[in-house]
């Protein structure tokens, strides 16, 4: 039985003392992606192009298989995000990451929005996992 309730997007902003042109390449150049995000990457940075990443973890790698939706250097890049691993909670294409780069003096204001993540782990023999988390959250308040 599968239950999926999507959550509010994750929004993060970070100021980087580098120009947008410099920052943008860290999302589309595999040699640069591996310096901060993943262990290996294969990318075709245009709409519909592949965005594949390998993330290392205990017990083996997680395979991120996404696709670029928008590529507008040096301002905006959007790609889908999800994993092919059977124990991962987010399937390929299920969620979307939007990155916007705004010049800020000599630097960049980066804004990342990650949408459509599911509320909870999906496969559960009992079901009701989503309700449980909601109830626990109530108790914790």
């Amino acid at each position: 039985m599968t239950e999926a309730v999507t959550t509010e997007p994750i929004v993060r902003e970070v100021r980087i003392e580098a120009r947008p042109e410099t920052v943008f390449e860290f999302f589309t150049d595999p040699a640069k992606l591996t310096r901060w995000l993943c262990a290996a990457a294969t990318v075709d940075p245009r709409p519909g192009g592949v965005c594949h990443q390998t993330h290392e973890a205990e017990g083996g790698p997680y395979h991120m298989r996404g696709e670029f939706v928008e590529v507008a250097p040096p301002t905006r890049v959007v790609f889908t995000w999800g994993f092919t691993n059977p124990d991962a909670s987010v399937a390929p294409g299920a969620s979307t990451v939007e990155v916007t780069l705004e010049p800020d003096g000599a630097g960049t204001l980066l804004r990342l929005v990650h949408r459509d993540l599911p509320e909870a782990a999906i496969e559960s023999h009992t079901g009701g996992w989503t309700r449980l988390l909601a109830e626990l959250a109530e108790v914790a308040r």
């Binding site: 920052v23 987010v90 993540l117 509320e119 559960s124 009992t126 626990l136």
Partner: protein
């Protein structure tokens, strides 16, 4: 629903999750941490944790390896938010390093 609450209510099961939070272990290796718990009882605990979605099992040949699911009770969103916090910090460091390198290169060319 009660199943997941009961899964973490047991202190031994909480201890099992702690053992495999950062590394994978076989059932035997997990059992060896508990002097007073039988192997079948450990298997039962592992089954309860798996059915509650807190533990994942991976097979490697004849071995079964267990580890805590990274999302745990916090949920996917919290896990991914933390992931981005860490990764974006790394991005900032690398991008700033790259920018300084380019400035230095430009300076040398002048």
């Amino acid at each position: 629903m009660q199943q997941a609450v009961e899964a973490i209510a047991d202190p031994r099961r909480r201890e099992i999750l702690r053992l495999v939070r950062a590394r994978e272990l076989t059932a035997g290796a997990i059992a060896s941490h508990f002097a007073d718990v039988s192997r079948p009882a450990i298997s039962q605990h592992l089954r309860v944790l798996r059915e509650a979605g807190l533990l994942s099992e991976r097979r490697e040949g004849t071995r079964r390896l267990y580890r805590a699911r990274p999302e745990g009770l916090g949920g996917v969103r919290e896990f991914v938010a933390q992931l981005w916090d860490e990764r974006l910090d790394a991005l900032r460091i690398e991008a700033e390093r790259e920018e300084r390198k380019r400035e230095n290169d430009r300076g040398r060319d002048n």
